[in-house]
Amino acid sequence: MNKVVVQIKRFFSRLIVIFQRLFSILETPLRKIFGHKLAIPLLVLTAVIVQNIISTPNFFDISIKNGLLSGYIPSIMDEAGELLIITLGMTLVIAVSGGVDLSVGPIMAIAASFCGLLLNGSEYRTDVFQNPYILALFIGLLAGVLCGAFNGIMVSYLKIQPMIATLILFTAGRSIAKLITHGQTIYIMNPVYKYLGVQIPGVPIRTTILISLLFVILVTLLVKLTSLGLYVQSVGINGSAARLVGLNSNAVKFMAFVICGLLAGVAGLVGSSGVGSVNSGELGMSIEMDAILAVALGGNSLSGGKFSIAGSVIGAYTIQAITTTLYAMNVRPDQLNVFKALIIVVIIVASSEIFKERIKRLIRRILSSIPKSSKKTTVVGGCSDEN
């Protein structure tokens, strides 16, 4: 028996040595590939796409039906529209404060409710706008901005933790929206209302895709053309150092929350337009979870600091691709939350310093315990030290 054990141990120690040699050869190229900040999100997206290609061979097919681009990819991009817009705002909030804005979903509902109320008066359903369309959109967005400002004041000037501050609107928001719509779903039958979320006649691409990409460009420009990006990162990395170089940390935080509120408002209008009605109980339901997940999948740290808009965009599309894939496998939307919750915990645990430290310690312990029986001790020890 003992001999067998020794044999097995020896076998494993050799295996480990081989792995270590292999790893030392591959280390530099692997580091280069995985070192890039967008590597992980792209990898996950690729994996999801590959899975889709295998299960649905016509994945890449794009055709034009009823004057609209259709196919798997356009439909994923269409469905990801609201999430993408929300994710942009969430990225800024997470980067600047290290906390999240939980209230994006309810803000969507509030914005859409105001818009719907203005367009529809208090009728249950109507074909004619009661107020100018532009005015309604403007008021909807203004509501989003005000909600964002409410969150922003609490976080930056009253120094309340972002998550607790936004928790207030997270729960009260939907009730407020229901109050605006008198607890009913507002149906808006005027075809113009669907321009924003479905299609503008004559344009072969869904408006959602266009609008979401437009906002990606707008936010990217905002971040790159002004120094907002630099400010947000500086405040997120080291608030006191940022103050000493002359930045107004409070104002920067406030601005990030306002932008997030505005974008949530946009997403709300797009979302309600897409279904042609305002249902304050359903609109943007659990989108905050998706947005947080998208930001994390995009390779951004949830504890603030550096951020990448491109990463978040990839993250958002990845989430939607996963969602669509799971729908195709007959998973119901509410059940999806189970998977999403698990994924986010796994991502955060894997990126946490303590977890990495523990794993390293564990591996070291295993490495140091196995080769004791064999003569390869020195080799293994040497290698592990180098790594």
């Binding site: 906390g99 999240v100 939980l102 609490m154 009253l158 120094k159 309340i160 933790q161 998550m163 607790i164 501050a165 928790l167 207030i168 997270f170 729960t171 009260a172 939907r174 009730s175 407020i176 229901k178 109050l179 008198h182 607890g183 659990s286 979870m289 947080i292 949830l302 504890s303 119901r332 509410d334 059940q335 999806l336 939350n337 189970v338 998977f339 999403k340 919750a341 698990l342 986010i344 915990v345 955060i348 645990v349 946490s352 303590i354 977890f355």
Partner: protein, 377 residues
């Protein structure tokens, strides 16, 4: 405030001047708020019988489950952590109970250990991630919230009513309180009663009061919330304390779920939605500081009663929309959070005075600048 060296007993000026701490102020505000609201409603809504004993006790009967959830949150908030999964756990427990009784035909007694187990598992996993892996409690428990909510619809996507006889007998039981009754107009007696759920809640409340005040674990919770580094230096196992706080919160959420099912005996995918906010606001209104280290279970009781009262009073005001109570609770939460942030930003009373002074000087400066500018412009 000079002291002479080697003086005796009379050199303790601080002993006699007992100050009320910030905690005390917050708690007193809450209790005062509750009784003011209650007496105001007694006078204002004469037809609604607020003066009756039974109405008073029904405030608790209607919200026994919420008291459990709020107590759980009180415990984690005291350690400076948070748990926003309790509402979903409540929903999950009620769905599991309903499914067990209706579809599996399990004996009703087994629903009790099942509820407790679900709560403990949630608490333990979340507690481990928060305490030992040091992940932000908000993210962890937000994931817990979505996980539990998702699991509800994995188990059952439709409403499952409970018809089990044993369970329904528990649910419908009433324990009448002797001597506390009012006479109805037709001569019958309207005796105040407590449901079994309320009795369990009160027992748990008493156990928690003793635990927090009189055991090492209870005091460790406060120490960890007050200053974790100091607590560590004073020989307290900070991680274990945080972990245990989360387990306890999970356990209480499990019991809360059970009590909720007693109150409304059916499993429904929408059960327990947003209960976490009711629980958090009850704790916070009851004087628990979100920054940790401060709070009493008895305050939480009053927080819950205020919540229950709001729910009862708002429809009487002629507001029929179901969303108003939640908005009002949230508004209360907002006010209390802002109050707290002023207290914390100030640190202590001295600090508060300093902050006020600073504001005043700033204001004065702004005004003086304006005055200077006026003649020139």
């Amino acid at each position: 405030m000079k002291i002479k060296p080697h003086t005796t007993g009379d050199s303790f000026p601080l002993l006699k001047r007992k100050r009320i701490s910030n905690t005390g102020i917050l708690l007193m505000i809450t209790i005062l708020l509750f009784f003011t609201l209650y007496f105001a409603s007694t006078i204002y809504f004469k037809s609604s019988n607020f003066a009756k004993y039974s109405v008073f006790f029904n405030l608790l009967n209607n919200k026994a489950h919420l008291l459990l959830l709020a107590l759980g949150l009180t415990v984690v908030l005291i350690t400076g952590s948070i748990d926003i999964s309790v509402g979903s756990v409540t929903g999950l427990v009620s769905m599991v109970i309903a499914t067990m009784l209706t579809q599996e035909g399990v004996d009703a007694i087994w629903t009790i250990p099942a509820s407790l187990a679900i709560g403990i598992v949630f608490g333990a996993v979340q507690g481990f991630l928060v305490a030992y892996i040091e992940i932000q409690p908000f993210i962890v428990t937000l994931s817990g919230l979505f996980f539990a909510r998702g699991m509800i619809s994995v188990i059952n996507a439709v409403s499952v009513p409970i018809s089990d006889k044993t369970f329904m007998s528990w649910s419908g039981a009433k324990v009448f309180i002797p001597f506390l009754y009012n006479e109805r107009k037709n001569g019958t007696l309207d005796i105040a009663y407590l449901t079994p759920a309320s009795i369990i809640a009160i027992v748990v409340l008493i156990i928690l009061i003793i635990t927090l005040k009189k055991t090492k674990f209870g005091r460790a919770l406060y120490a960890v919330g007050g200053n974790p580094q100091s607590a560590l230096l004073m020989g307290i196992n900070v991680r274990k304390t945080k972990f245990m706080a989360h387990v306890l919160c999970g356990l209480l959420a499990g019991i809360g779920g059970f009590l909720f099912t007693l109150l409304s005996p059916s499993g429904n995918p929408g059960n327990g939605v947003a209960y976490e906010i009711d629980a958090i606001s009850s704790s916070v209104i009851g004087g628990v500081m979100l920054s940790g280290g401060v709070g009493l279970p008895i305050g939480t009781l009053f927080g819950v009663l205020i919540n229950s009262l709001i729910e009862r009073v708002v429809p009487l005001l002629g507001i029929t929309e179901a969303s108003w109570p939640r908005i009002i609770t949230s508004a209360f939460l907002f006010i209390f959070i802002v109050l707290q942030s002023l207290f914390i930003g100030a640190g202590s009373k001295k600090g508060l005075k300093l902050t006020l002074q600073r504001w005043m000087t700033n204001l004065r400066h702004v005004f003086s600048r304006r005055k200077k500018n006026q003649p020139s412009s």
